[in-house]
């Protein structure tokens, strides 16, 4: 299907997102990517912005609000925050912003490491349909999708990021 052909270039969007964030570098921000797509985008942003500090990685499995219905995600990864969260300016990075529930879980998790000075949210794509009062601070792409559609970020063997649209 030609859906993929019409999707924008995710790599170009990463560069666009980096330029949106660049004015904030004065705050010495720390990047935290949400597994797995957000982690790839955060790593890309780190390179584009020339940040020397390692990015943080968050898996929100232990903080999700659907544990009672869905149980524990079978492939959870360790959260890794290689810097002191206390007093830091943090930019949370995700690939797709949708209901806002993942963002809520990630913010809760960050606070168990300390009290950040501020948390901002950078996303490659915002597909709307929020279920919580969450808004991105930086976004490269705003789009509308049907409830049955799923927008996913892939990374190929060469590390290139690309969008994939699935119809349920």
């Amino acid at each position: 299907m030609s859906l993929t052909d019409s999707l924008p270039d995710a790599e170009a969007q990463c560069r666009q997102l980096a330029e949106l964030i660049r004015p904030k570098l004065a705050k010495n921000p720390a990047l935290v990517g949400i597994y797995s797509g957000g982690a790839w985008v955060a790593e890309r942003l780190r390179c584009l912005l020339g940040l020397s500090e390692d990015i943080g990685l968050i898996d929100v499995s232990f903080y999700r609000d659907d544990f009672a219905e869905k149980g524990l995600h079978p492939q959870c990864k360790p959260t890794l925050i290689p810097f002191d969260v206390e007093g830091r300016h943090i930019i949370l990075v995700d690939d797709v912003l949708y209901t806002g529930r993942t963002t809520r879980a990630a913010i809760n998790e960050l606070f168990d490491y300390g009290r950040p000075a501020a948390i901002e949210l950078a996303v490659l794509a915002d597909r709307g349909e929020r279920e919580l009062p969450v808004a991105p601070s930086y976004e490269a792409w705003t789009l509308q999708l049907d409830a049955g559609q799923r927008l996913a970020l892939d990374r190929n063997d060469h590390g290139q990021l690309a969008w994939r649209l699935e119809n349920a």
Binding site: F62, Y63, G71, C76, K77, P78, T79, N108
Partner: protein
């Protein structure tokens, strides 16, 4: 064959034994435990997974360490933990096991951690819960008789994977009273399922069960031969009551033949690790120089045990 530990989707809903669990579930537990290791190193050592849930520690048999690590694990998952030392309460007043369970169900329990001197007690409880329509309550076996101690088995697997990475190239020796050891049984089933090619059992004939070879285990009565070139040595505790019985001449005699001394350990691979489920009898099954030496990972096992128990409780509670 029906496995009472799994639900209709093949997911883990009780942990009763490592026997019969598919490799994918064992690996899922170990992977999840790895994520929980990180939680224990945080400023706030808590995640909200079991918030509002009640975990009952039912210890019909004494154990300070296992009970404490289950309690810490449940608390780090934000559960409410109730410790029942049943030796001192209902059972001694004559209440039956299942009456005790019915009473705790009426107190809205969500998960039972059960230690019992009788093999099969946790199975009995799991089946009873099914029968009374409380399949939503989960059971984790914390050691039943001579049968199984699956969380100890799993934390042993976590320890081995942590230090040795790959199970499929290993030689693992289990030394001591395998006949009475639920830890040994849980280890053997887990090691085999995870693909360890050579599991050895070392001990006197009186302390080894008869059909070990049927489990694919190589039997050694000579400690030196059994330890040759192994990657992992799992020492078992020699229970005091065995030392005075007919099974063994004396503790000193046992140590001479099956005690892990530095000289004995030198026969294993130079990077072999030494494990022990605790509590140790120094000078009976293990020499202090080994217990405190660089190859011992015994205290790491305790730390890993908390993460493994967090993984088990959060996986069963979610299924």
């Amino acid at each position: 064959m029906h496995n009472p530990q799994l639900n209709s989707h093949g997911e883990l809903t009780h942990l009763l034994s490592t026997e019969g669990l598919p490799q994918a579930i064992l690996t899922q537990i170990l992977d999840t435990a790895e994520s929980f290791m990180e939680v224990s190193s945080r400023e706030v050592k808590k995640v909200p997974l079991l918030r509002g849930k009640s975990v009952f520690n039912l210890f019909f048999e004494n154990s300070t360490r296992t009970r404490t690590t289950f309690e810490i694990a449940a608390k780090r998952l934000s559960a409410d933990v109730i410790n029942l030392d049943i030796n001192k309460s209902s059972a001694s007043k004559g209440e039956t096991l299942l009456d005790t369970i019915d009473n705790l169900c009426a107190m809205d329990a969500n998960l039972f951690v059960v230690r019992h001197a009788s093999s099969g007690a946790p199975y009995l409880i799991a089946e009873h819960l099914q029968r009374i329509g409380r399949g939503d309550i989960h059971v984790v076996n914390a050691g039943d008789g001579r049968h199984a101690h699956p969380t100890q088995g799993l934390l042993d697997m976590y320890t081995i994977r942590h230090y040795k990475k790959d199970f499929t190239q290993l030689r693992v020796a289990i030394v001591g009273d395998i006949l009475h050891s639920r830890v040994a049984r849980s280890d053997i089933h887990a090691l085999t399922t995870l693909g360890v090619p050579e599991v050895r059992a070392i001990g006197p004939e009186t302390l080894l069960p008869k059909h070990l070879d049927k489990l694919g285990v190589h039997v050694f009565h000579d400690m030196a031969a059994g330890l040759k070139d192994v990657d992992v040595v799992i020492m078992l505790r020699l229970q005091n009551e065995r030392m005075n019985g007919a099974l063994l001449p004396s503790a000193g005699e046992y140590f001479r033949h099956y005690g892990l001394t530095p000289q004995m350990l030198a026969l294993a691979k130079p990077d072999a690790i030494v494990m022990h489920p605790g509590p140790m009898n120094r000078g009976v099954e293990i020499h202090s120089a080994v217990a405190d030496g660089p190859q011992a990972v015994i205290l790491s096992q305790v730390t890993f045990g908390i993460a493994v128990r967090m993984a088990v409780m959060s996986i069963v509670a979610g299924n």
